[in-house]
């Protein structure tokens, strides 16, 4: 049971959250064309290491928070609110 640091609620067990993958992809403007939407929905960097991702605190504050988590070690380095930015880089 991982601990996800919710910026609003503090560290919470992972079963209070739903996962939604890569948070670095941005929904394109509606007129950006098929390729842009294809990349948004399908193309993933899928890094082995630090990964910025969406977690929805559905059993808590119901916010879609951004979490920077290491996919190799499962260490969580940072989190931010839905419209906030994560820190620039994590060593």
């Amino acid at each position: 049971m991982h601990l996800i640091p919710c910026p609003y609620c503090g560290e919470r067990p992972q079963d209070e959250f739903h996962y939604r993958g890569d948070a670095t992809v941005k929904r394109p403007a509606p007129d950006s064309g098929e390729q842009a939407f294809y990349d948004y929905v399908y193309t993933r960097a899928n890094p082995r290491g630090w990964h910025d991702e969406w977690w929805h605190h559905y059993a808590g504050c119901r916010q879609w928070i951004k979490v920077r988590r290491n996919t190799l070690t499962h260490v969580v380095a940072a989190s931010a609110g839905p419209a906030d930015a994560l820190p620039e880089a994590t060593p």
Binding site: E34, W64, T73
Partner: protein, 974 residues
Amino acid sequence: MTSKRLPSGGSVDRAQTIRFSFDGRTFTGHPGDTLASALLANGVRLVGRSFKYHRPRGIMTAGSEEPNALVELRDGARREPNSKATEIELHDGLVSASQNRWPSLAFDLMAVNGLAGSVFSAGFYYKTFMWPKSFWEKLYEPLIRRAAGLGRAASQPDPDHYEAMHAHCDVLVVGSGAAGLTAARAAGEAGARVILCERDFLLGGGLLLSPADESWRKEMLASLEKLPNVEILTRTNVFGYYDHNLLGAVERVADHKVQPDPHEVRQRYRTFRAKQVVLATGASERLIALPGNDRPGTMMAGAALTYLRRFGVAPGRNAVVFTNNDSAYETALALAEARTGKVTLVDVRAQSSLADALTARGINVRLGCEVASFDGKTAMIRRRGGAGGEKIVADLLSLSGGWNPNVQLASQSGAKPRWDATLASHVSGDPVQAERSAGAANGSFGIGAAAQEGAKAGRDAAAAAGFEKASEFALPQPGKAEQPIAPFWEVKAPGKSFVDLQHDVTAADIRLAHREGFSHVEHAKRYTTHGMATDQGKLGSLVGSAILAEARGETVDAVGVPTHRPYTMPVAFGALAGHASGAHFQPVRRTALHDWHLRNGAAMQPTGAWMRPFFYPKPGETGWDPIFREARAVRSSVGICDVSTLGKIDVQGPDAATFLDRLYINTFSTLAVGKCRYGVMLREDGIVFDDGTTSRLAEDHFLVTTTTGNAAPVLEHMEFHAQTVWPELDVQFCSVTDQWAQIAVAGPKSRETLATAVEGLDLSNEAFPFMGVGEGKIAGVPVRLFRISFSGELAYEIAVTSGQAETVWEAILAAGKPFGIVPYGLEAMSLMRVEKGHAAGPELNGQTTAADLGMGRMMKKSGDVIGRVLAGRPGLADPGRPRLVGIRPVDTSKRLRGGAHIVREPSSGTSMGWVSSVTQSIEHNCWIGLALVENGEVLKSQRLFAVSPLHDESVEVTITSPHHVDPENARVRA
């Protein structure tokens, strides 16, 4: 059989005698015994048979590393196969039986396997049983399956209960030996919240074998009990170390009883979220491979000491102790003290400063020697590496190949074990998580050293968790420094030298694996099955690696050992499930009208998390009778249905309409206040996500409804887009599913029924037309009415606050009485929706587009809509895709099947689509269905076949509009 119980000593309660049985014979023992110690005390030497060769086996250890003494514990529904006699706390009435033998333990016919041992070498089964091909499933495999396995599972459900419990602490201490006790006390006295876990039913670990330290142990326990911030858990094995410093454990709450007390759980699954962890898990002794090291009478030296000191039982009469290190000298001394017979100590080391002390006690000490073989009666002793030797009468061969610190938990936490050449073993590596090892687990042997290291670890852990208060308490004196161990793994002599007793893996098997290229330690493990038995290779894993290392010409360090994975000890399925199984497996949701349904005889069934009425059978009704009766009532007069499970989302704010316009393919900003509209939403990939009716309650206030199953996903979808994609929109929304019960009143008489019941709202068609939304009162209760229909009849849905649902429901029933109103369930609702041709779950299956479902034209011409762009991909825009149609059998006596495929000819293997929903129609008096058929629209009124090879059926069908009833929608507008 004479008693082997010594006249005095040990921590068993000799004042009380308890009875137990093994293989049908009744024995006695004492509280404080394990099944193993009690069997030994009763002189039972043969306790089990091995996996492959069915060789006779005796008790080898005194703990969880036991490979041989596996029994079926208890009987009937409580039978537990493969229970380690060394781990079973003796209790009055305990029933146990040996396993994996036929016809009896003493005479096992399968032992014939052992005679052909060299044919059954490692991996032999990969090389044969291939001819003829068909014989594998029919002959070879059934034989192998029957011969394999160990004990038998119970055949009935487990009558006992389990639960989970979640704890948090500043410092978790695992193990209660000298290191664990001092760690817990130091951390506890610093003020930290401490949990101390001990696998055993007694606290003390190795201290229990040291009479000299007994008073110190008692004093430590007394001081720990005084600390309110220290919780002590016995019979609790920590089985795994997971990410983010979470550890899992099982507490054996009632395993030391015949059965749990009423309401007591059998076992408790525990999780510990610890800021800091101290691993004081001790060490495990490893065996020495030599011919006959599996014969009954072979026992680890530490185990022999345990039986002598802790249980007051002599593990044998004449003993040979074979060692490469100092620890077994204590066993030799204890054996000599027991005065049961001659004791010989064989040490591979050429010199030992401890030899004289043993000789003085009458022990025959043989330095620079090895045991070349053991047959249960005699041991052959020879110069190390020599030939021939001397036979010594011995019914006990006590082995010590050195000690492996128990690094399993540290290793699971991510700390890679490190090779320590001095100890000839792995010790825990640099911590990755917030943990530290102490005592024997850290390679610091001896009570004094362990106590000191434990105290430091406890203090450091508390400090790291923010508790700096210092405390002082007395520690035992450090013992004399030990002489170095002489790494020694195997006596090379003819015969079977076992490295894994349970799986019958020999040193020769390891070498064969290497010859065949399985030289990586993981390959060798898998090829030979070494270390994969229920004892998890604790005795011989490293020995196997050493033999492999020799074969490879490399160091043990270079070869390594297989990765440590959960579980440190096997864990009961029931324990891990906790309370959450059976009726408690997942939450059950009940609508506000749940009890009304129960009181009125509804047949309730689960749909997702909800319990819903499927129908309300009357006496004498069978099969489809109640469904037809209920549906007919709706089609001919009026019915009432609980539709509270629909998802309901309250959406407000200046940008609410804009937000909904982007969520749905159709437009909501143009919807008038007091009206509702059907809407469809897509996933971003262009596939239909959900549908439902949305009402405009005010300029900036909407009520969205979703399908029952998608209520939660739709809310999350809305939250995602409102919070992350369009944070600039001023919109607020929340679920109101539970606030409102919703009641459908459907049928041509629904208006008349409601006209009687509703106050304050003109229900005439002009004042309250189709898709109207209004407010009124029923039985004095404020309600909201929607003129919408799922059945295809004139219909209304009424929303009422949950607390008043029954009042309103009853009032409507009363008002409808003159029209013969009936409650109808999910089945009748489903029948009517298929007749009407509404898409539902089977059509909204995550594979269909709006166009597939005949709703392509709902997509608005412009504006940002989720899913619009990718819905335009060629594969999704292809007009040849399967489209929603209706089907009816040409021969109306034929039944249709959901899941049948549509083909042009019965013999065709090419599917044109499939049947998504079927029902018996009360309008058409035959089966009808909905189907998704390629080019469905152009095939209308053509005849095709619905085939179900699974049922060996083929039915000629006519393709129709999906709307089997009232395609013009006249009824709903009436």
